[in-house]
Symmetry: C2
Subunit: 175 residues, 2 copies
C-alpha cells in the first residue's frame, strides 16, 4: 500500500505518466466508466445496507452505502483488506427539507432524499486495479456512466488519503 | 381511515378510554412492545433499503429505513394501503461529524452514524391493529423493547397526522 501511496502522491504532484492508462486502450465501452471499465452492477438497489451519511458543503447530499454479499460479509466480520469481488455502492440524493414531515413535527427538522444525483461503485480486484490499491471506480448518472476521465482520475487519490487500516474505504459499518 | 383519525383526535383530547388496551391483557411479554405486542423482527438488518433521512432538532439522528419483502414490493409498485405483513424498520444513529473524512476533504462536511439510538418497527395488520389504522408499533434499544406505554401511545397519533395517501407512513421510497 505504501507503493500505491507514493504513486498517488506522484500523481497529485503531476508526474504520473501512464498510471491511468485505460484498461483496454483503443476500445471504448460506452456502458463502463473510463479508465477502470466499471459497469453498473445489476441489482445493486437490492443490496444490503452498510451505512448512511450526509455530505454537506458543495455536494449537499444524503446518501446510502450498500454492498454486495462479499462486501457486507467483510464489513460484518471486520475483514481487511476487502477480498476480491467486494463491491460497494454509494447512492446519493439531493439533501432536501421535508415540508410534509416538518408540518407534523411542528418545526423544521426533517431532511430527506430529493432527486438522485449519482451512484458510485468501488470494485475490489487486486490484479486488475493493482495500481490503484486494488480498487476500481465508476460513477453513474441516470444509469449511465460519467465518461469524464478527469473525474475518474480524482477517485483513487482521494481514497488513498483515507486510513489504510480501512483498506482505502471511507465508510464504516453502521450496526 | 376517517374513523381512525377521529379516534386518535379523541385520544389526543384525552378521552380515549380503552383505545390502547394491551393486546393480551393480564399477560406481559418482556420481549415485545407495550400495547402493540411487537417483537424485534429477526434479520431486519439484512432487509432492503427504502430510504434515508436526517432528523435534526432534539433527535439529531441520521437514519435508514429498511423494509421486509412485502413492504419493499409495495413501495416499488406504489401499492397503498400497504398489505398485511408489511414491516418497516427505522434504524437511527447519533448524527456525528466524521473528523476522519473531513481531514481528507479539507473542510467540515461529512456527517455519519455514531452510536445506535433505537430501532422502530411499523407492522401492518389490519385486523390486529384496526384501531390504529392497521399499524402496530414498537421501539427497541440494544435489542430490547422500550416498555414505556406512554411512549407507545405517541406513535399512532403522530402517524395519523401524515398524509393518508401514504397510508400513515412518513417515508417515501428513494430510487
Amino acid at each position: 500500500m505504501r507503493t500505491m501511496t507514493l504513486r498517488l502522491v506522484a500523481c497529485i504532484m503531476g508526474s504520473c505518466i501512464g498510471a491511468f492508462i485505460p484498461l483496454a486502450a483503443g476500445s471504448v465501452d460506452d456502458d463502463a466508466s473510463p479508465i477502470f471499465g466499471i459497469r453498473l452492477s445489476a441489482g445493486y438497489r437490492e443490496w444490503q445496507l452498510i451505512s448512511v451519511a450526509h455530505e454537506a458543503g458543495r455536494l449537499n447530499d444524503i446518501r446510502a452505502i450498500l454492498g454486495n454479499d462479499i462486501a457486507v460479509k467483510a464489513y460484518r466480520e471486520g475483514t481487511r483488506p476487502f477480498p476480491d469481488g467486494a463491491i460497494i455502492a454509494r447512492l446519493a440524493w439531493e439533501y432536501v427539507s421535508s415540508a410534509e414531515n416538518d408540518a407534523v413535527f411542528g418545526q423544521a427538522q426533517s431532511f430527506v432524499p430529493g432527486s438522485p444525483t449519482n451512484v458510485q461503485f468501488s470494485v475490489k480486484d487486486t490484479k486488475k486495479f493493482a495500481v490503484t490499491g486494488g480498487w476500481g471506480y465508476g460513477q453513474f448518472e441516470n444509469g449511465k456512466p460519467n465518461r469524464s476521465e478527469d473525474l475518474m482520475k480524482t477517485c483513487a487519490p482521494c481514497h488513498a488519503a483515507v486510513s489504510s487500516t480501512n483498506d482505502f474505504v471511507f465508510t464504516r459499518y453502521a450496526p
